[in-house]
């Protein structure tokens, strides 16, 4: 096996290991936060108003394993979590994993759709601005991008609904249809939430694309490529853009936190039954196992996409891929 392949595998291995450690730390945090939170889940479960007998409380406690020492509770919980067993929902006794597994793909889909929308809008706009630096087009695009970054997700969402569904009637205002039932309807309902969520990211991407393109266009090698007799179009698309892509991918990674935060609002606004909807419902019902499961799933999603971004990053830049060879 040659050195660069070993290097690449090592890099992937190291990043995976880091991701696992991050997950473990988060799992521990989630467990301890739930433990020190006020409110007794047993009383809640039995109905605090009905004045349950101490015996009933005690038997419920042992049934849930809450009478065990904290440390052993923690390891039991962790061991189960590893096998995707987050216990049962306190509301109806269904396994938490069922909720999580059904809602996780929906949030994942929303997040990816938002990233794709943002890239499709942001990158071309950034290129357009960079190629005519200082022109009216550049000024307009840059100002729109600045506004785009400053508009909160819920205002953007409201405006999109007002325009596209209420005024034009093109797209449904909210809801969710399973893709297996009606694929077209599914994507029609995905469009507005994805757009609302991706708009801020699109603005960041446009700005980063612009500045990163300008930086690359000023490099010596661009002049050298032109001197080779390469057409301007090929210089831009084949060389400048690929070099500029590295910081663009970085900005996507950095904005991921914002994006995941945004899903809470967007899912609520558009009635999108994702992880955040699940989490919000579980928190207000003090459905602790469900909260834990949903939080862990969101964290795993975040870490997973981040891992993907980082791997993409080293794929784009040979200097990172082969740093030590």
């Amino acid at each position: 096996m040659n050195a660069s392949v070993t290097g690449a595998l090592l890099l992937v291995g190291r990043k995976l290991l880091t991701a696992l450690i991050q997950l473990l730390v988060i799992a521990t945090l989630i467990f301890s936060v739930m433990y020190i939170m006020p409110g007794d889940p047993v009383l809640l479960l039995l109905g605090a108003d009905s004045n349950p007998s101490p015996e009933a409380v005690a038997s419920m406690r042992s049934q849930l394993g809450l009478d065990q020492p904290v440390v052993s509770q923690y390891f039991v919980w962790l061991w189960r979590a590893l096998r995707l067993d987050f216990g049962v929902s306190l509301a109806n006794g269904y396994p938490v994993s069922r909720y999580v597994l059904s809602n996780l793909p929906r949030t994942l889909e929303l997040a990816f759709a938002a990233i794709i929308v943002a890239t499709l809008i942001g990158v071309p706009l950034g290129i357009a601005a960079a190629l005519k630096r200082g022109s009216l087009r550049d000024t307009i695009l840059t100002s729109v991008a600045t506004i785009g970054i400053s508009v909160p997700v819920y205002i953007m969402g409201t405006m999109l609904v007002l325009f596209f569904s209420l005024k034009l009637g093109w797209l449904p205002a909210s809801g969710y249809t399973d893709i297996s039932r009606n694929a077209l309807e599914h994507f029609r309902k995905l469009a507005l939430p994805a757009l609302a969520l991706g708009f801020g990211l699109a603005a960041s991407i446009a700005r980063m694309t612009r500045s990163s393109m300008l930086e690359i266009l000023g490099r010596d090698f661009v002049r050298a490529l032109r001197a080779k007799g390469m057409s301007e179009r090929r210089v831009i698309w084949q060389h400048v853009l690929r070099n500029a892509a590295i910081p663009i991918v970085t900005i996507i990674g950095l904005q991921l936190g914002n994006l995941m935060g945004g899903t809470v609002l967007v899912e609520a606004m558009f009635n999108w039954p994702g992880l955040s909807t699940l989490l919000v419902g579980a928190v207000s019902a003090r459905n602790y196992p469900l909260v834990q499961g949903a939080m862990l799933a969101i964290a795993a999603l975040f870490i997973g996409i981040n891992l993907l971004v980082e791997l993409l990053y080293s794929l784009l830049d040979p200097r990172i891929r082969r740093k030590r060879t």
């Binding site: 050195a3 070993t6 290097g7 090592l10 490099r219 010596d220 090698f221 002049r223 050298a224 490529l225 032109r226 001197a227 080779k228 007799g229 390469m230 057409s231 301007e232 060389h239 690929r242 070099n243 784009l316 830049d317 040979p318 200097r319 082969r322 030590r324 060879t325």
Partner: protein, 567 residues
């Protein structure tokens, strides 16, 4: 073959057009090497870009013609121009690593260059690329094909640029400072290569450089430019034997040449009419303290004993780290008020050594005796009193001065850090320092960008002197400057040495500069000092093969020309 007629170029500015190049004429015949020489800002590069049709958007050609085999490049559309570029005229740039796209392998970039102009298959282009790499004498062409630019040295990258340039057998090659960023020994190889290709391929070469030594060794004819005007055109031999213009004469004079035994370098002066001439200034006598000459018997100011600094690198991802000794058991000493010149090629450990003396990091082993006390293992706090004794002047005067501070603030900064004096006292001290380095008092309120490179280096020197240090480390302090400016700064350093009782550790890759300033010289190779002794002895009679090789590689005026015809 290439004929530039009456070419004038101007920059668009807010106040209208600002002329950059005026009425330049020159021609290059087949197989000829024409040198275009001048200081920075003289319009050499902009002229070459105009020839390529690659002027930046803010520059316009106001008049003239650029005829390539009879076609006026300036009249061509972008499509036709593109066909000529790379195929008819190729260009080699100053910074080879930056001139290659970092995310493609070198092989892909050469293949791309071939396939831009010729309809050949990928495999065939690849074969051609390997042959080209072989022709430019790259060791292991297969490996170089797979390598990314950052994995190769500057010299290898320049060979790849040259391979790319000759890929389509162009008639004209423009080489813009092709060896400025390279070590002397590598420079020699690259120049030999260019000359060989010139003979073999028969391409005409326009060689742009500020280095008269390079011109002397390589060019057949020379065009001298000065602030946008052509000053002189002559065959190389005529120019150096009998320069007609005052400027060319002054430029040749101000080069420190090996063997030149002068205390001061001539500098270029300009009179009110704009005439340029060369003067050899007298040493400045400003204060009464006539310092004693360096006394070889006095106890050394700085003594380094068996200094070691290693880096640990992994040769492969899974391999054990191996020790790379950047500084390997180095021992040196510098007498007070003398200058030690430290020479060596890039990567030899010069800068690591100087940073160890600055105690920017802790050396792994060995002693650094400063005024008799070992500072090698002092803590940050214990080091503080020594910090004011050792100052440093860096290579790049553009990067080493904070652009948002005024000159007064910059020069005052060390005084403020050490809580020296009141504001009034400090201001007076700054004024004194600026005067000492030859800057006007009005400079204090200005910002670094308002000064030229040489003036900025003067600011950096003033700042280094603020705390009255006894040792000043000059790390390639004149390398980024033009020859005439370099001469001024070297003269200044000599004046200041007498005036402020300074001891210099002068690090440079330029042997002629080192010979000019140094009392003792140390030659460094791969972390070790290979030769160490008095400057006179080393330059007159180098003992080590490596020193001789370095000396031989320096392009010098008056040496035997290797080029066609000879001088």
């Amino acid at each position: 073959m290439l004929e530039v007629r009456n070419l004038s170029i101007a920059f668009k500015t807010r106040d209208g057009l600002k002329s950059a190049v005026r009425n330049i004429d020159f021609t290059i015949g087949p197989g000829e090497i024409l040198g275009l020489v001048g200081e920075s800002g003289s319009g050499k590069t902009i002229t070459s870009l105009a020839v390529m049709g690659l002027l930046p958007p803010n520059a316009v050609v106001t008049s003239g013609e650029v005829l390539v085999d009879g076609t006026d490049m300036l009249q061509l559309g972008s499509g036709e121009l593109r066909k000529l570029r790379g195929r008819h005229i190729a260009m080699i740039f100053q910074d080879p690593i930056a001139s290659l796209d970092p995310i493609f392998t070198c092989g892909d970039q050469i293949i791309e260059a071939i396939r831009l102009h010729e309809t050949v298959g990928k495999a065939q282009a690849r074969q051609r690329a390997i042959e080209l790499l072989d022709k430019v004498k790259i060791p292991d062409p297969e490996r170089a094909m797979r390598a990314y630019p950052h994995e190769l040295s500057g010299g290898q990258c320049q060979r790849i640029m040259i391979a790319m340039a000759v890929a389509c057998k162009p008639h004209i090659i423009i080489a813009d400072e092709p060896t400025t960023a390279l070590d002397v020994t590598v420079q020699k190889q690259v120049l030999d290569l260019l000359r060989g290709l010139n003979e073999e391929v028969g391409a005409a070469i326009l060689l742009i450089t500020h280095d008269l030594g390079v011109i002397y060794e390589v060019a057949d004819r020379v065009v001298v430019m000065y602030s946008g005007d052509k000053i002189e055109e002559a065959t190389t031999a005529d120019l150096f034997n009998n320069p007609k213009s005052g400027y060319a004469k002054a430029l040749i004079d101000s080069m420190p040449t090996p063997g030149g035994q002068h205390d001061r370098l001539p500098v270029i002066e300009r009179d009110a009419l704009g005439n340029v001439f060369s003067v050899r200034p007298e040493p400045r006598v400003r204060s009464s303290n006539v310092a004693a000459a360096p006394d070889a018997n006095a106890s050394p100011l700085l003594e380094i004993r068996d200094l070691v600094k290693s880096y640990w690198i992994k040769p492969a991802p899974l391999a054990m780290p191996v020790e790379m000794r950047a500084v390997d058991r180095v021992s040196l000493s510098i007498a007070p008020r003398s200058t030690l010149g430290l020479v060596g090629e890039s990567g030899c450990g010069k800068s690591t050594l100087s940073r160890a003396v600055m105690r920017l990091y802790r050396p792994d082993a060995g002693e650094i005796l400063f005024k008799g006390q070992d500072i090698a293992s002092l803590s940050e706090g214990e080091m503080r009193p020594f910090r004011r004794e050792i100052a440093m002047v860096f290579q790049n005067p553009y990067g080493s001065l904070n652009p948002r501070k005024t000159v007064a603030e910059l020069v005052e900064a060390p005084l403020v850090i050490f809580g020296e004096g009141t504001a009034t006292v400090r201001r007076r001290r700054v004024a004194g320092l600026l005067e000492a380095v030859g800057l006007p008092a009005t400079a204090a309120a200005k910002y670094p960008h308002e000064f030229s490179g040489g003036q900025r280096q003067r600011i950096a020197i003033a700042r280094a002197l603020a705390l009255n240090p006894s040792l000043v480390i000059c790390d390639e302090a004149v390398s980024a400057l033009d020859v005439s400016v370099q001469a001024q700064v070297l003269n200044l350093l000599k004046d200041l040495q007498v005036e402020f009782d300074l001891t210099y550790l002068f690090i440079s890759h330029d042997l002629s500069v080192v010979e000019h300033v140094s009392d003792t010289v140390a030659v460094m190779q791969k972390g070790r000092i290979v030769e160490y002794g008095s400057a006179k002895a080393i330059f007159a009679n180098p003992k080590e093969a490596y020193t001789r090789m370095l000396l031989d590689a320096v392009p010098t005026i008056g040496s035997d020309r290797v080029g066609k015809g000879g001088a």
